[in-house]
Amino acid sequence: MNFDYSEEQQLLADAVRRYLAKDYGFEARKKIVASPEGWSEAVWRQLAELGLTGLPIPAEYGGFGGGAVDMIGPMEAAGEALLVEPYAATMVAARLLARAGSEAQKRAILPQVVEGRLRLAFACLERGARHDLSRIGTRARRAGDGWRLSGEKVAVVGAPAAARLVVSARTEKGASLFLVEAGETKQRPCVTLDEMRAADVLLEDTRAELLGAEGEAMPWIEEAADFATALVCAEAVGAMKYACDATLEYLKTRKQFGVPIGSFQALQHRMVDMVIATEQARSMACLAASKVDGAADACERARAVSAAKIKISDAARHVSQESVQLHGGMGMSEEMKVSHTFRRLTVIAGEWGDAEHHLARFAALEAAR
């Protein structure tokens, strides 16, 4: 048993945290969020320079061949800094491509992702399917030696900044994955509660390239979702850590009735419960990542990830709500970073499945054992 990061993992986590602390403070982030694109090319180049864009990509395509555990440190730092660049979105799609794609597809795309020249997004949510990624309404039909897709994907984070989209669609043989030029889709871009950019993606007989074997994509999709969930769990831990740190500092400095409000036992216990929730969340984020990397089978992986997401969704709600409440009026103010952390954690609670989704999934896996 060893919960420590390796030296390499530690160095990378420190480097990312240092960079974000220096160049991605709350004020700098505010400017990025208010810009027309809503993300920063310059920041992206820095992420690439730090090696982050190649982290989960195999070495033969220029990456580091890392796993989910290697992503914990960077994702935690991203959560603390409330990174809005579509980093997780790109990494999830890139890893999926690395696993399911053909040699030619990998050669064409992955080196560019590693170098920070290309962003990707995974378009898997649909209007009528909530969190169930197997309920795919988007249809694919063969056209010459290629494919055409028709349907709608919703709330695709990172789509406006992506050059290519990985899209799930159904053929006669079942769930399949495709690569689509983002420029050939019709997008309805939007700003999300957590100040990222996403889009509803309309596919109207849009050209597509098959990714992996036709009709056999469900295991890949589930694995990608579990990987993505592990990333968001680590990110949640960073965001919760910020919420706890900021609240603790506030309890120590804010005075009412002539004393720091942290001297009220009613608030001390609330603060302690926030910290306990965050510690438990951290443990589950470790579990999720290590099982994504090393579970014996898909079932073991899925159970661990769902268990983690149940804990983390609950903790994200609890910690975010309490952090605002204990800040009093200040917690409601847009000028306070903690209110933005609240928004990110609110989204995280439902991202890649809310607690109820994962409760149902966990229970079903148990029943099938």
């Binding site: 169930d132 309920r135 309805r188 009412q256 917690g331 439902g350």
Partner: protein, 395 residues
């Protein structure tokens, strides 16, 4: 024991319900239902419709426009307004400044201000909280120095709801910095928002909305006739207001309506299995718990009303219970709305143009964020628990 309204009370309820159905303008109803921001004009329009009918200030004495209704009728009326989805009545004039003037004001003050509050001619806001004084209100620092027939006011208020709409602000100010107890140096002043030296600065909340402000006072002159009650007795006035009969603190009517709408909404949103999320037992259980909480709160509220009616005593710490439970329920409903929409609730506004953007779904998550305020303002729920611990339990 009989938990039902009497025949007369039911008839009264039907009368109120019928009248609201006929007189609440459809566009206002729609705006409230769609969670759109209400303009000053929107708020005042409903206020004036009620004023014309004579129902805008039921709790005031009849000679000032009150209706003479008993506590139960008043409660029914407020719940019906909430249930119908009427715009909220801004409380600062009708529920706060008005009652204060009725209790402590001079004849001249009453004549000058009450009719204008009643008719919606003056828009009021509340200047209590300061950057350093929230829960510990009595530590407030905004100074008012007496110079001849005026006070000179300097300082800052914060979180002033709708201060950007207001014609007048009622303030707690410090008139005696050397009083033995900090509560004793405080006075209650009425200040014209158009006075030179007042600056209002917007404070944006985390949902991006502008509803509160900072108000700065820089050598603002206030005529002494705008002092309410005696100098140094402002705390007595403020305390009267805190204990004032707030029958609708739980906002039960509005929550009932929101819950009914939540059910309609959830019946149209897909769950993971493609069937409506309303039929998902996990969602259904959460919703039912809120519904049961609300039922319990309604009965509790009625129980308190019945006691008030019979003893004639104003409510005490009961109001704190209603505030705690009422706000928790409101927050739970906004959260369930957001959860019912699932991943779609994440998109809150279009990045370019509005074409095809589902505005209602987009507002659910910001609304959930906004409603976090309810457990903070009007005496935070922690302070309400302190009140119950102290007043009711003697701890």
């Amino acid at each position: 024991m009989d938990l039902n309204y009497s025949k007369e009370e039911l008839a009264f309820r039907d009368e109120v319900r019928g009248w609201i159905a006929e007189n609440l303008p459809q566009d206002l109803r729609d705006k409230v239902a769609n969670y759109e921001e209400l303009s000053k004009e929107d708020l005042l329009r409903w206020h004036r419709i009620l004023a014309k009918k004579g129902w805008v200030a039921p709790h005031w004495p009849v000679e000032w426009g009150g209706t003479g209704w008993g506590v139960v009728e008043r409660y029914i009326f407020e719940e019906e307004c909430g249930y119908a989805g009427a715009p909220p009545l801004v409380p600062f004039g009708l529920m706060m400044c008005g009652p204060v003037l009725l209790r402590f004001g001079t004849e001249a003050q009453k004549k000058r201000f009450l009719p204008r509050i009643y008719n919606g001619d003056d828009f009021w806001c509340q200047g209590y909280s300061e950057p350093g004084s929230g829960s510990d209100l009595a530590s407030l620092k905004t100074r008012a120095e007496r110079r001849g027939d005026r006070y000179i006011v300097n300082g800052q208020k914060i979180w002033t709801t709708l201060g950007h709409y207001a014609d007048w602000i009622f303030c707690l100010v410090r008139t005696d910095a050397n009083a033995a107890k900090k509560q004793e140096g405080i006075s209650f002043l009425l200040i014209d928002m158009k006075s030179p030296g007042i600056t209002v600065r917007p404070l944006i909340l985390m949902d991006g909305g502008h509803e509160v402000n900072e108000v700065f006072f820089d050598d603002v002159e206030v005529p002494v006739e705008n002092l309410v009650y005696e100098e140094g007795k402002g705390w007595t006035v403020a305390k009267y207001l805190l204990g004032y009969e707030r029958l609708n603190t739980g906002r039960i009517g509005a929550s009932k309506r929101e819950l009914a709408r939540l059910k309609e909404f959830a019946a149209r949103q897909p769950g993971d299995d493609g069937r409506p999320i309303l039929e998902d037992p996990r969602f259904r259980d959460k919703l039912t718990r809120v519904e049961v909480e609300l039922a319990a709160l309604e009965i509790t509220n009625l129980r308190f009303l019945d006691r008030m009616r019979r003893t004639g005593q104003p409510p005490g710490a009961e109001v704190s219970l209603l505030k705690i439970k009422g706000t928790e329920i409101q927050q739970a409903i906004t959260e369930l709305f957001m959860q019912a929409a699932g991943p779609l609730a994440r998109a809150v506004r279009p990045a370019d143009g509005a074409a095809g953007f589902d505005r209602f779904t987009g507002v659910l998550a910001p609304r959930y964020c906004n409603f976090r305020k309810t457990t903070i303002y009007a005496g935070s729920n922690e302070i309400q628990r302190n009140i119950i611990a102290k007043m009711t339990l003697g701890l």
